[in-house]
Symmetry: C2
Subunit: 254 residues, 2 copies
Amino acid sequence: MATGRTHRPATRSRGIPEATVARLPLYLRALTALSERSVPTVSSEELAAAAGVNSAKLRKDFSYLGSYGTRGVGYDVEYLVYQISRELGLTQDWPVVIVGIGNLGAALANYGGFASRGFRVAALIDADPAMAGKPVAGIPVQHTDELEKIIEDNGVSIGVIATPAGAAQQVCERLVAAGVTSILNFAPTVLSVPDGVDVRKVDLSIELQILAFHEQRKAGEEAAAADGQVPPAVARKASADKGPDGDVPAVMPA
Amino acid sequence: MATGRTHRPATRSRGIPEATVARLPLYLRALTALSERSVPTVSSEELAAAAGVNSAKLRKDFSYLGSYGTRGVGYDVEYLVYQISRELGLTQDWPVVIVGIGNLGAALANYGGFASRGFRVAALIDADPAMAGKPVAGIPVQHTDELEKIIEDNGVSIGVIATPAGAAQQVCERLVAAGVTSILNFAPTVLSVPDGVDVRKVDLSIELQILAFHEQRKAGEEAAAADGQVPPAVARKASADKGPDGDVPAVMPA
DNA sequence: CCTTGTGAAATCTTTCACAGCT
DNA sequence: AGCTGTGAAAGATTTCACAAGG
Protein backbone atom coordinates (compact mmCIF):
# COMPACT_ATOMS: atom_id res chain seq x y z
CA MET A 1 0.00 0.00 0.00
CA ALA A 2 1.00 3.58 -0.29
CA THR A 3 3.69 4.55 2.11
CA GLY A 4 3.19 8.25 1.68
CA ARG A 5 3.52 8.85 5.35
CA THR A 6 4.72 12.31 4.61
CA HIS A 7 1.90 14.54 5.57
CA ARG A 8 0.77 16.31 2.50
CA PRO A 9 3.61 18.11 0.77
CA ALA A 10 1.18 20.97 0.54
CA THR A 11 1.13 22.18 -3.00
CA ARG A 12 0.53 25.74 -2.01
CA SER A 13 0.59 27.16 -5.49
CA ARG A 14 -3.12 27.65 -5.96
CA GLY A 15 -3.95 27.29 -2.29
CA ILE A 16 -7.52 28.41 -1.91
CA PRO A 17 -8.71 27.54 1.58
CA GLU A 18 -11.29 24.78 1.70
CA ALA A 19 -13.70 27.00 3.60
CA THR A 20 -13.51 29.50 0.78
CA VAL A 21 -14.05 26.87 -1.90
CA ALA A 22 -17.17 25.74 -0.08
CA ARG A 23 -18.58 29.27 -0.30
CA LEU A 24 -17.79 29.99 -3.92
CA PRO A 25 -20.88 28.16 -5.18
CA LEU A 26 -22.95 30.32 -2.86
CA TYR A 27 -21.49 33.50 -4.27
CA LEU A 28 -21.92 32.16 -7.76
CA ARG A 29 -25.58 31.52 -7.21
CA ALA A 30 -26.16 35.00 -5.85
CA LEU A 31 -24.20 36.51 -8.72
CA THR A 32 -26.14 34.51 -11.29
CA ALA A 33 -29.36 35.88 -9.86
CA LEU A 34 -27.99 39.41 -10.13
CA SER A 35 -26.82 38.73 -13.65
CA GLU A 36 -30.29 37.61 -14.64
CA ARG A 37 -31.65 40.88 -13.33
CA SER A 38 -28.99 42.64 -15.40
CA VAL A 39 -27.39 44.23 -12.37
CA PRO A 40 -24.00 45.45 -13.60
CA THR A 41 -22.04 45.78 -10.36
CA VAL A 42 -22.41 44.79 -6.74
CA SER A 43 -20.64 45.73 -3.53
CA SER A 44 -19.21 43.22 -1.11
CA GLU A 45 -21.85 44.27 1.35
CA GLU A 46 -24.75 43.59 -1.01
CA LEU A 47 -23.39 40.36 -2.36
CA ALA A 48 -22.54 39.12 1.10
CA ALA A 49 -26.10 39.77 2.23
CA ALA A 50 -27.44 37.84 -0.75
CA ALA A 51 -25.15 34.94 -0.01
CA GLY A 52 -25.81 34.96 3.71
CA VAL A 53 -22.28 35.72 4.89
CA ASN A 54 -20.60 38.84 6.18
CA SER A 55 -18.78 41.17 3.87
CA ALA A 56 -15.34 40.84 5.43
CA LYS A 57 -15.43 37.14 4.84
CA LEU A 58 -16.53 37.60 1.28
CA ARG A 59 -13.77 40.07 0.51
CA LYS A 60 -11.20 37.80 2.09
CA ASP A 61 -12.53 34.91 0.04
CA PHE A 62 -12.30 36.89 -3.18
CA SER A 63 -8.80 38.02 -2.28
CA TYR A 64 -7.67 34.41 -2.72
CA LEU A 65 -8.92 34.46 -6.29
CA GLY A 66 -7.26 37.73 -7.17
CA SER A 67 -8.18 41.40 -7.25
CA TYR A 68 -11.36 41.37 -9.22
CA GLY A 69 -13.08 44.38 -7.66
CA THR A 70 -12.86 48.12 -8.08
CA ARG A 71 -12.40 50.23 -4.98
CA GLY A 72 -15.19 52.67 -4.41
CA VAL A 73 -17.40 50.77 -6.85
CA GLY A 74 -17.64 47.07 -6.18
CA TYR A 75 -17.47 43.99 -8.37
CA ASP A 76 -18.49 43.59 -11.98
CA VAL A 77 -21.15 40.91 -11.86
CA GLU A 78 -20.49 39.26 -15.22
CA TYR A 79 -16.78 39.23 -14.72
CA LEU A 80 -17.03 37.67 -11.29
CA VAL A 81 -19.45 35.04 -12.54
CA TYR A 82 -16.89 34.07 -15.11
CA GLN A 83 -13.94 34.07 -12.72
CA ILE A 84 -15.68 31.99 -10.09
CA SER A 85 -17.04 29.59 -12.69
CA ARG A 86 -13.59 29.09 -14.05
CA GLU A 87 -12.11 28.64 -10.60
CA LEU A 88 -14.68 26.00 -9.76
CA GLY A 89 -14.10 24.22 -13.03
CA LEU A 90 -17.61 24.86 -14.30
CA THR A 91 -16.51 26.07 -17.70
CA GLN A 92 -16.09 22.46 -18.64
CA ASP A 93 -18.58 19.66 -18.91
CA TRP A 94 -18.78 17.14 -16.06
CA PRO A 95 -20.55 13.91 -16.90
CA VAL A 96 -22.02 12.37 -13.77
CA VAL A 97 -23.52 8.98 -13.07
CA ILE A 98 -26.13 8.31 -10.43
CA VAL A 99 -26.08 4.84 -8.94
CA GLY A 100 -29.17 3.64 -7.13
CA ILE A 101 -32.40 4.81 -8.72
CA GLY A 102 -34.78 4.49 -5.84
CA ASN A 103 -36.85 7.34 -4.52
CA LEU A 104 -33.85 9.50 -3.86
CA GLY A 105 -31.94 8.61 -7.01
CA ALA A 106 -34.98 9.43 -9.09
CA ALA A 107 -35.38 12.72 -7.26
CA LEU A 108 -31.76 13.57 -7.98
CA ALA A 109 -32.13 12.62 -11.63
CA ASN A 110 -35.11 14.92 -11.88
CA TYR A 111 -33.40 17.75 -10.07
CA GLY A 112 -33.03 20.58 -12.52
CA GLY A 113 -30.11 22.35 -10.89
CA PHE A 114 -28.11 19.35 -11.84
CA ALA A 115 -27.81 20.02 -15.52
CA SER A 116 -27.80 23.76 -15.09
CA ARG A 117 -24.19 24.35 -14.34
CA GLY A 118 -21.71 22.20 -16.16
CA PHE A 119 -23.06 18.93 -14.86
CA ARG A 120 -24.71 16.39 -17.09
CA VAL A 121 -26.33 13.16 -16.03
CA ALA A 122 -24.51 10.72 -18.27
CA ALA A 123 -26.24 7.64 -16.95
CA LEU A 124 -28.52 6.19 -14.31
CA ILE A 125 -27.52 2.84 -12.88
CA ASP A 126 -29.46 0.42 -10.72
CA ALA A 127 -28.97 -3.14 -9.54
CA ASP A 128 -32.58 -4.11 -10.07
CA PRO A 129 -32.94 -5.83 -13.46
CA ALA A 130 -36.59 -4.84 -13.51
CA MET A 131 -35.54 -1.19 -13.67
CA ALA A 132 -33.31 -1.67 -16.69
CA GLY A 133 -34.54 0.22 -19.71
CA LYS A 134 -37.13 2.17 -17.77
CA PRO A 135 -36.69 5.87 -18.35
CA VAL A 136 -36.31 8.12 -15.32
CA ALA A 137 -36.21 11.83 -16.00
CA GLY A 138 -35.96 10.90 -19.65
CA ILE A 139 -32.87 8.78 -19.18
CA PRO A 140 -33.07 5.00 -19.43
CA VAL A 141 -31.83 3.17 -16.36
CA GLN A 142 -28.97 0.76 -17.01
CA HIS A 143 -28.01 -2.29 -15.06
CA THR A 144 -25.07 -2.34 -12.65
CA ASP A 145 -23.32 -4.84 -14.88
CA GLU A 146 -22.68 -2.00 -17.30
CA LEU A 147 -21.13 0.26 -14.68
CA GLU A 148 -17.51 -0.03 -15.70
CA LYS A 149 -18.28 0.33 -19.38
CA ILE A 150 -20.46 3.40 -18.78
CA ILE A 151 -17.78 5.13 -16.73
CA GLU A 152 -15.14 4.46 -19.32
CA ASP A 153 -17.20 5.29 -22.39
CA ASN A 154 -18.36 8.58 -20.96
CA GLY A 155 -15.18 9.62 -19.21
CA VAL A 156 -17.06 9.99 -15.95
CA SER A 157 -15.03 11.21 -13.00
CA ILE A 158 -17.86 12.15 -10.65
CA GLY A 159 -20.24 9.57 -9.24
CA VAL A 160 -23.31 9.98 -7.06
CA ILE A 161 -24.22 7.10 -4.77
CA ALA A 162 -27.88 6.90 -3.80
CA THR A 163 -28.05 3.21 -2.99
CA PRO A 164 -29.01 1.64 0.32
CA ALA A 165 -26.23 1.81 2.90
CA GLY A 166 -25.39 -1.84 2.52
CA ALA A 167 -24.48 -1.50 -1.15
CA ALA A 168 -22.64 1.79 -0.99
CA GLN A 169 -19.10 0.64 -0.22
CA GLN A 170 -19.13 -1.96 -2.96
CA VAL A 171 -20.54 0.46 -5.51
CA CYS A 172 -17.94 2.96 -4.40
CA GLU A 173 -15.14 0.51 -5.01
CA ARG A 174 -16.38 -0.32 -8.46
CA LEU A 175 -16.73 3.34 -9.34
CA VAL A 176 -13.22 4.09 -8.15
CA ALA A 177 -11.75 1.06 -9.90
CA ALA A 178 -13.40 2.22 -13.10
CA GLY A 179 -11.85 5.66 -12.84
CA VAL A 180 -14.16 7.84 -10.75
CA THR A 181 -12.21 10.17 -8.47
CA SER A 182 -14.98 12.21 -6.86
CA ILE A 183 -17.97 10.79 -5.08
CA LEU A 184 -21.06 12.36 -3.64
CA ASN A 185 -22.48 9.91 -1.13
CA PHE A 186 -26.11 9.99 -0.07
CA ALA A 187 -25.99 6.62 1.63
CA PRO A 188 -25.78 6.82 5.42
CA THR A 189 -22.43 5.11 5.68
CA VAL A 190 -18.77 6.01 5.84
CA LEU A 191 -16.98 5.21 2.60
CA SER A 192 -13.38 4.04 2.48
CA VAL A 193 -11.57 5.28 -0.57
CA PRO A 194 -7.97 5.30 -1.74
CA ASP A 195 -5.89 8.41 -1.47
CA GLY A 196 -6.69 10.87 -4.19
CA VAL A 197 -10.40 10.21 -4.25
CA ASP A 198 -12.66 12.90 -2.82
CA VAL A 199 -15.81 12.01 -1.00
CA ARG A 200 -18.50 14.36 0.13
CA LYS A 201 -21.52 13.13 1.96
CA VAL A 202 -25.06 14.30 2.29
CA ASP A 203 -26.84 12.82 5.23
CA LEU A 204 -30.32 13.75 6.27
CA SER A 205 -30.14 11.94 9.53
CA ILE A 206 -26.95 13.67 10.61
CA GLU A 207 -28.36 17.09 9.78
CA LEU A 208 -31.48 16.40 11.79
CA GLN A 209 -29.45 15.25 14.75
CA ILE A 210 -27.40 18.42 14.70
CA LEU A 211 -30.60 20.44 14.63
CA ALA A 212 -31.97 18.40 17.51
CA PHE A 213 -28.89 19.19 19.56
CA HIS A 214 -29.39 22.91 19.12
CA GLU A 215 -33.11 22.58 19.62
CA GLN A 216 -32.53 20.89 22.94
CA ARG A 217 -30.03 23.55 23.89
CA LYS A 218 -32.57 26.26 23.13
CA ALA A 219 -35.14 24.55 25.32
CA GLY A 220 -32.66 24.44 28.16
CA GLU A 221 -31.81 28.09 27.80
CA GLU A 222 -35.44 29.03 27.76
CA ALA A 223 -35.96 27.30 31.05
CA ALA A 224 -32.93 29.07 32.50
CA ALA A 225 -34.18 32.39 31.15
CA ALA A 226 -37.47 31.97 32.94
CA ASP A 227 -35.50 31.98 36.14
CA GLY A 228 -33.41 35.03 35.47
CA GLN A 229 -34.23 38.16 33.52
CA VAL A 230 -32.82 37.55 30.10
CA PRO A 231 -34.56 39.75 27.54
CA PRO A 232 -36.85 37.86 25.16
CA ALA A 233 -36.19 37.27 21.49
CA VAL A 234 -34.22 40.05 19.93
CA ALA A 235 -33.33 41.54 16.64
CA ARG A 236 -34.21 40.05 13.32
CA LYS A 237 -31.14 39.13 11.44
CA ALA A 238 -30.56 37.41 8.15
CA SER A 239 -28.16 34.65 8.76
CA ALA A 240 -27.30 31.52 6.92
CA ASP A 241 -24.84 30.35 9.47
CA LYS A 242 -25.44 27.95 12.20
CA GLY A 243 -26.07 28.84 15.77
CA PRO A 244 -23.34 30.97 17.27
CA ASP A 245 -23.50 30.22 20.92
CA GLY A 246 -22.09 27.07 22.29
CA ASP A 247 -23.20 27.41 25.79
CA VAL A 248 -25.42 24.96 27.54
CA PRO A 249 -26.43 25.09 31.13
CA ALA A 250 -25.74 21.95 33.02
CA VAL A 251 -29.43 21.35 33.48
CA MET A 252 -30.26 17.73 32.93
CA PRO A 253 -33.76 16.89 31.79
CA ALA A 254 -33.55 13.60 33.56
CA MET B 1 -33.91 46.95 31.19
CA ALA B 2 -30.20 46.69 31.28
CA THR B 3 -28.71 47.11 27.89
CA GLY B 4 -25.32 45.60 28.32
CA ARG B 5 -26.32 42.51 30.22
CA THR B 6 -23.94 40.02 28.86
CA HIS B 7 -25.75 37.29 26.98
CA ARG B 8 -23.24 34.68 27.92
CA PRO B 9 -21.52 34.50 31.20
CA ALA B 10 -17.88 33.60 30.87
CA THR B 11 -18.68 30.17 32.19
CA ARG B 12 -17.61 27.70 29.58
CA SER B 13 -19.20 24.87 31.46
CA ARG B 14 -20.98 22.92 28.77
CA GLY B 15 -19.81 24.49 25.53
CA ILE B 16 -19.40 21.67 23.05
CA PRO B 17 -17.63 22.93 19.91
CA GLU B 18 -19.77 22.96 16.80
CA ALA B 19 -17.26 20.78 14.97
CA THR B 20 -17.65 18.18 17.68
CA VAL B 21 -21.44 18.32 17.60
CA ALA B 22 -21.34 17.68 13.86
CA ARG B 23 -19.38 14.49 14.45
CA LEU B 24 -21.44 13.07 17.28
CA PRO B 25 -24.04 11.58 14.92
CA LEU B 26 -21.22 9.84 13.09
CA TYR B 27 -19.93 8.26 16.29
CA LEU B 28 -23.44 7.35 17.27
CA ARG B 29 -24.03 5.54 14.01
CA ALA B 30 -20.81 3.56 14.36
CA LEU B 31 -21.63 2.74 17.96
CA THR B 32 -25.12 1.61 17.07
CA ALA B 33 -23.67 -0.81 14.54
CA LEU B 34 -21.32 -2.17 17.21
CA SER B 35 -24.17 -2.42 19.65
CA GLU B 36 -26.18 -4.47 17.17
CA ARG B 37 -23.27 -6.84 16.88
CA SER B 38 -23.23 -7.04 20.68
CA VAL B 39 -19.71 -5.65 20.91
CA PRO B 40 -19.32 -4.65 24.55
CA THR B 41 -16.41 -2.20 24.40
CA VAL B 42 -14.45 -0.34 21.78
CA SER B 43 -11.17 1.58 21.76
CA SER B 44 -10.86 5.10 20.44
CA GLU B 45 -8.74 3.70 17.63
CA GLU B 46 -11.36 1.21 16.48
CA LEU B 47 -14.28 3.54 16.83
CA ALA B 48 -12.43 6.31 15.06
CA ALA B 49 -11.70 4.01 12.12
CA ALA B 50 -15.36 3.06 11.92
CA ALA B 51 -16.40 6.68 11.96
CA GLY B 52 -13.76 7.80 9.51
CA VAL B 53 -11.85 10.18 11.77
CA ASN B 54 -8.58 9.89 13.66
CA SER B 55 -8.48 8.71 17.21
CA ALA B 56 -7.02 11.87 18.73
CA LYS B 57 -9.93 13.86 17.38
CA LEU B 58 -12.40 11.35 18.69
CA ARG B 59 -10.89 11.35 22.17
CA LYS B 60 -10.87 15.12 22.23
CA ASP B 61 -14.48 15.17 21.10
CA PHE B 62 -15.50 12.78 23.84
CA SER B 63 -13.58 14.77 26.39
CA TYR B 64 -16.10 17.58 25.89
CA LEU B 65 -18.89 15.24 26.93
CA GLY B 66 -17.14 13.98 30.01
CA SER B 67 -14.94 11.08 30.97
CA TYR B 68 -16.88 8.13 29.69
CA GLY B 69 -14.02 5.78 28.90
CA THR B 70 -11.86 3.45 30.92
CA ARG B 71 -8.11 3.74 30.58
CA GLY B 72 -6.49 0.62 29.37
CA VAL B 73 -9.83 -0.70 28.15
CA GLY B 74 -11.82 1.67 25.96
CA TYR B 75 -15.43 2.77 25.92
CA ASP B 76 -18.49 0.83 26.92
CA VAL B 77 -20.58 0.76 23.75
CA GLU B 78 -24.04 0.83 25.31
CA TYR B 79 -23.12 3.53 27.76
CA LEU B 80 -21.65 5.74 25.06
CA VAL B 81 -24.68 5.23 22.84
CA TYR B 82 -26.81 6.47 25.67
CA GLN B 83 -24.61 9.43 26.55
CA ILE B 84 -24.32 10.65 22.99
CA SER B 85 -28.02 10.14 22.36
CA ARG B 86 -28.81 12.18 25.39
CA GLU B 87 -26.35 14.90 24.43
CA LEU B 88 -27.88 15.14 20.98
CA GLY B 89 -31.37 15.26 22.39
CA LEU B 90 -32.40 11.99 20.80
CA THR B 91 -33.91 10.56 23.93
CA GLN B 92 -36.93 12.65 23.22
CA ASP B 93 -39.36 12.56 20.34
CA TRP B 94 -38.97 15.16 17.60
CA PRO B 95 -42.01 15.58 15.40
CA VAL B 96 -40.98 16.88 11.99
CA VAL B 97 -42.95 18.26 9.08
CA ILE B 98 -41.85 18.05 5.47
CA VAL B 99 -43.06 20.83 3.23
CA GLY B 100 -43.00 20.28 -0.51
CA ILE B 101 -43.88 16.74 -1.51
CA GLY B 102 -42.32 16.54 -4.95
CA ASN B 103 -39.78 13.96 -5.94
CA LEU B 104 -37.41 14.94 -3.18
CA GLY B 105 -40.02 15.43 -0.50
CA ALA B 106 -41.44 12.00 -1.25
CA ALA B 107 -37.98 10.48 -1.12
CA LEU B 108 -37.40 12.09 2.27
CA ALA B 109 -40.75 10.88 3.55
CA ASN B 110 -39.85 7.36 2.50
CA TYR B 111 -36.39 7.55 3.98
CA GLY B 112 -36.23 5.03 6.76
CA GLY B 113 -33.44 6.57 8.77
CA PHE B 114 -35.85 9.36 9.47
CA ALA B 115 -38.04 7.59 11.93
CA SER B 116 -35.26 5.48 13.33
CA ARG B 117 -33.76 7.84 15.78
CA GLY B 118 -36.11 10.06 17.67
CA PHE B 119 -37.56 11.73 14.59
CA ARG B 120 -41.13 11.23 13.51
CA VAL B 121 -42.74 12.56 10.37
CA ALA B 122 -45.72 14.32 11.87
CA ALA B 123 -47.07 15.61 8.59
CA LEU B 124 -46.45 16.11 4.89
CA ILE B 125 -47.48 19.44 3.44
CA ASP B 126 -47.81 20.53 -0.16
CA ALA B 127 -49.24 23.55 -1.93
CA ASP B 128 -50.83 21.51 -4.71
CA PRO B 129 -54.51 20.88 -3.88
CA ALA B 130 -54.41 17.81 -6.12
CA MET B 131 -51.95 16.22 -3.71
CA ALA B 132 -54.15 16.71 -0.67
CA GLY B 133 -55.27 13.46 0.87
CA LYS B 134 -52.95 11.35 -1.25
CA PRO B 135 -50.85 9.14 0.95
CA VAL B 136 -47.07 9.29 0.56
CA ALA B 137 -45.09 6.79 2.58
CA GLY B 138 -48.34 6.00 4.30
CA ILE B 139 -48.94 9.55 5.42
CA PRO B 140 -51.67 11.63 3.82
CA VAL B 141 -50.47 14.88 2.29
CA GLN B 142 -52.10 17.99 3.71
CA HIS B 143 -52.58 21.33 2.07
CA THR B 144 -50.40 24.33 2.91
CA ASP B 145 -53.45 26.09 4.32
CA GLU B 146 -53.23 23.75 7.26
CA LEU B 147 -49.56 24.49 7.97
CA GLU B 148 -49.99 26.66 11.04
CA LYS B 149 -52.54 24.36 12.60
CA ILE B 150 -50.39 21.29 11.98
CA ILE B 151 -47.34 22.88 13.58
CA GLU B 152 -49.29 23.95 16.60
CA ASP B 153 -51.28 20.77 17.10
CA ASN B 154 -48.21 18.57 16.88
CA GLY B 155 -45.78 20.80 18.71
CA VAL B 156 -43.44 20.72 15.76
CA SER B 157 -40.16 22.57 16.19
CA ILE B 158 -38.23 21.11 13.25
CA GLY B 159 -39.28 21.70 9.66
CA VAL B 160 -37.87 20.32 6.44
CA ILE B 161 -38.23 22.45 3.33
CA ALA B 162 -38.21 20.55 0.06
CA THR B 163 -40.10 23.05 -2.06
CA PRO B 164 -38.87 24.79 -5.20
CA ALA B 165 -36.45 27.62 -4.47
CA GLY B 166 -39.05 30.27 -5.20
CA ALA B 167 -41.36 29.10 -2.44
CA ALA B 168 -38.77 28.36 0.22
CA GLN B 169 -38.47 31.76 1.90
CA GLN B 170 -42.21 32.17 2.23
CA VAL B 171 -42.66 28.66 3.59
CA CYS B 172 -39.80 29.32 5.97
CA GLU B 173 -41.47 32.45 7.30
CA ARG B 174 -44.74 30.65 7.87
CA LEU B 175 -42.98 27.80 9.64
CA VAL B 176 -41.10 30.19 11.89
CA ALA B 177 -44.17 32.27 12.62
CA ALA B 178 -45.98 29.10 13.61
CA GLY B 179 -43.25 28.15 16.06
CA VAL B 180 -40.62 26.18 14.19
CA THR B 181 -37.13 27.04 15.37
CA SER B 182 -35.00 24.60 13.36
CA ILE B 183 -35.08 24.23 9.62
CA LEU B 184 -33.44 21.82 7.26
CA ASN B 185 -33.46 23.44 3.84
CA PHE B 186 -33.16 21.42 0.65
CA ALA B 187 -34.16 24.30 -1.59
CA PRO B 188 -31.23 25.93 -3.38
CA THR B 189 -31.66 29.31 -1.78
CA VAL B 190 -30.42 31.26 1.21
CA LEU B 191 -33.05 31.57 3.90
CA SER B 192 -33.42 34.64 6.08
CA VAL B 193 -34.52 33.78 9.56
CA PRO B 194 -34.85 35.65 12.83
CA ASP B 195 -32.27 35.26 15.51
CA GLY B 196 -32.64 32.06 17.43
CA VAL B 197 -33.73 29.97 14.48
CA ASP B 198 -31.24 27.43 13.20
CA VAL B 199 -30.98 26.65 9.54
CA ARG B 200 -28.98 23.89 7.96
CA LYS B 201 -28.92 23.42 4.26
CA VAL B 202 -28.41 20.46 1.99
CA ASP B 203 -27.53 21.46 -1.52
CA LEU B 204 -26.69 18.98 -4.24
CA SER B 205 -25.50 21.60 -6.64
CA ILE B 206 -23.06 23.11 -4.14
CA GLU B 207 -21.61 19.71 -3.28
CA LEU B 208 -21.07 18.92 -6.94
CA GLN B 209 -19.38 22.23 -7.53
CA ILE B 210 -16.99 21.63 -4.66
CA LEU B 211 -16.17 18.23 -6.11
CA ALA B 212 -15.66 19.78 -9.53
CA PHE B 213 -13.17 22.21 -8.04
CA HIS B 214 -11.07 19.41 -6.60
CA GLU B 215 -11.48 17.34 -9.74
CA GLN B 216 -10.13 20.18 -11.81
CA ARG B 217 -7.26 20.64 -9.42
CA LYS B 218 -6.39 16.96 -9.66
CA ALA B 219 -6.35 17.16 -13.44
CA GLY B 220 -3.97 20.09 -13.24
CA GLU B 221 -1.66 18.28 -10.89
CA GLU B 222 -1.68 15.22 -13.05
CA ALA B 223 -0.46 17.28 -15.93
CA ALA B 224 2.22 18.77 -13.71
CA ALA B 225 3.18 15.32 -12.47
CA ALA B 226 3.58 14.06 -16.03
CA ASP B 227 6.28 16.66 -16.33
CA GLY B 228 8.15 15.34 -13.35
CA GLN B 229 8.84 11.73 -12.54
CA VAL B 230 6.03 10.68 -10.27
CA PRO B 231 4.85 7.16 -10.98
CA PRO B 232 1.32 7.29 -12.36
CA ALA B 233 -0.15 5.00 -9.77
CA VAL B 234 0.82 7.33 -6.95
CA ALA B 235 0.64 10.61 -8.75
CA ARG B 236 -2.64 11.63 -7.22
CA LYS B 237 -2.63 13.46 -4.02
CA ALA B 238 -5.60 14.23 -1.87
CA SER B 239 -6.79 17.43 -0.47
CA ALA B 240 -7.80 15.16 2.31
CA ASP B 241 -9.68 17.56 4.48
CA LYS B 242 -13.10 18.84 3.94
CA GLY B 243 -14.88 21.97 4.87
CA PRO B 244 -17.13 22.67 7.78
CA ASP B 245 -19.69 20.03 7.04
CA GLY B 246 -17.61 17.39 5.46
CA ASP B 247 -15.27 14.76 6.56
CA VAL B 248 -13.13 12.53 4.54
CA PRO B 249 -13.32 8.98 5.52
CA ALA B 250 -9.75 8.07 6.03
CA VAL B 251 -8.42 4.81 4.83
CA MET B 252 -6.29 3.11 7.36
CA PRO B 253 -3.81 0.87 5.67
CA ALA B 254 -2.58 -1.96 7.81
C1' DC C 1 -16.77 60.66 -0.06
C1' DC C 2 -16.95 55.57 -1.56
C1' DT C 3 -15.49 50.37 -1.29
C1' DT C 4 -11.81 47.03 -1.90
C1' DG C 5 -7.90 44.37 -0.33
C1' DT C 6 -5.22 42.80 3.43
C1' DG C 7 -2.02 42.52 7.43
C1' DA C 8 -2.78 41.45 12.17
C1' DA C 9 -5.58 39.84 15.98
C1' DA C 10 -8.94 36.80 17.63
C1' DT C 11 -11.12 32.56 17.53
C1' DC C 12 -11.87 27.92 16.41
C1' DT C 13 -10.15 23.25 15.16
C1' DT C 14 -6.92 19.65 14.76
C1' DT C 15 -2.93 17.27 16.01
C1' DC C 16 0.81 15.97 19.06
C1' DA C 17 2.64 13.66 22.76
C1' DC C 18 2.61 12.08 27.19
C1' DA C 19 0.98 11.94 32.07
C1' DG C 20 -2.10 9.25 34.54
C1' DC C 21 -5.18 5.54 35.42
C1' DT C 22 -6.74 0.60 34.93
C1' DA D 1 1.05 -3.14 29.03
C1' DG D 2 -2.60 -0.56 27.06
C1' DC D 3 -5.62 3.20 26.39
C1' DT D 4 -7.83 7.39 27.86
C1' DG D 5 -7.87 12.27 28.76
C1' DT D 6 -5.73 16.58 28.01
C1' DG D 7 -2.48 20.50 28.08
C1' DA D 8 0.06 22.71 24.63
C1' DA D 9 1.46 23.43 19.80
C1' DA D 10 0.19 23.90 15.21
C1' DG D 11 -2.94 25.04 11.78
C1' DA D 12 -7.16 26.94 9.73
C1' DT D 13 -10.76 30.30 9.65
C1' DT D 14 -12.98 34.42 10.87
C1' DT D 15 -13.08 39.05 12.19
C1' DC D 16 -11.11 43.59 12.80
C1' DA D 17 -9.79 47.86 11.23
C1' DC D 18 -7.60 50.70 8.17
C1' DA D 19 -4.44 51.93 4.27
C1' DA D 20 -4.88 52.35 -0.57
C1' DG D 21 -7.17 53.58 -4.51
C1' DG D 22 -11.14 54.83 -7.34
